[in-house]
Symmetry: C2
Subunit: 185 residues, 2 copies
């Protein structure tokens, strides 16, 4: 992306690795490939990292931090009314590119327990936020649990769809939230 002007730091490598993950998936996470992207040779890599697994650990760690920050920002939505909160989270999921990292991470999580743990924690956190919002809308916990599960799973599914399925518009989201917010019959 940004033309390389100076020398690289470890952060530049983890940044590049995350970009690669987003763009081409775990299979593309190779040293040579990364060096090509960063315009540098293998010697540079092995100065910053002992080996590939050390880079992978650093990448996982970094994504973990970024995700935590992102979730903290979401937590600050607490001041907003619950309906608006859900709306922001959903729209954020749809048009942001964040899900493309998430997809790669979930793929990666399959073969790396450390990554799987972070992804699971993140899912759990989002689920709780959504569940709480629905409770605040006036539903009892059982209903909230069901509807939160539905929405969160749908979010994960959307991130993985890449799909021939229709991408929801903003109007669709509003209709969806009307639906999720409505009282049980």
């Amino acid at each position: 992306m940004a033309p390389r002007t100076a020398r690289l730091s470890a952060q530049d490598w983890t940044r590049g690795a995350l970009d690669l993950l987003m763009a081409e998936g775990v299979a593309a996470l190779q040293i040579n490939r990364l060096c090509a992207d960063l315009g540098v040779t293998r010697g540079s890599f092995y100065w910053h990292f002992a080996d590939l697994t050390e880079l992978e650990a650093a990448v996982a760690e970094r994504w973990c931090e970024e995700t935590r920050e992102r979730l903290d920002q979401l937590a600050e939505l607490d001041r907003l009314p619950p309906r608006e909160r859900l709306r922001i989270m959903t729209l954020h999921l749809i048009d942001d590119a964040s899900w493309s990292v998430e997809r790669a991470l979930r793929e990666w999580a399959r073969s790396t327990p450390q990554v799987a743990a972070v992804v699971g924690e993140s899912d759990q956190h989002v689920f709780e936020l959504v569940e709480r919002a629905i409770v605040e809308l006036g539903h009892d916990p059982t209903v909230a649990r069901t509807r939160a599960g539905l929405l969160v799973y749908a979010g994960i599914g959307f991130a993985h769809g890449q799909s021939t399925l229709p991408k929801p518009t903003e109007a669709d989201v509003d209709q969806l939230l009307d639906f999720l917010a409505e009282p049980a019959s």
Copy 2:
């Protein structure tokens, strides 16, 4: 799984490859690994297939067929009332192991357009089945589209969750379908 008694056919290889995909993902789809599973050496593989991509094509083709059959079975649910239809499809998704193949295939689809096409087609078909069922429940097309999208995306998400998130019980599914079936306010 089944002890190998006789010599292998091409179908045995595609079967083994699908098993491998299910169990360990695309990264494990290697000739040596497959030979070990089937208790045979590379010489056998290269008698049945010209190279790896030919096997991959055969595997994709086979999954395509199996999926089509599965969808045809779903289509036969047309005789059942729509509510029961949705119930069967949802329960089928939850406790069947079929989603573990699907997850691997979606992962694979990312790097193989041919596979992506098949997955997309399958998604589309399921979506239409669900949408139609909801229309038959008495909803107008706009509502049906939203709710069908929600349910199908949630299904995909569930398949990819592998997750710390709660796995819905049969009672949860019934509550969920009550919710999806209820008239718009």
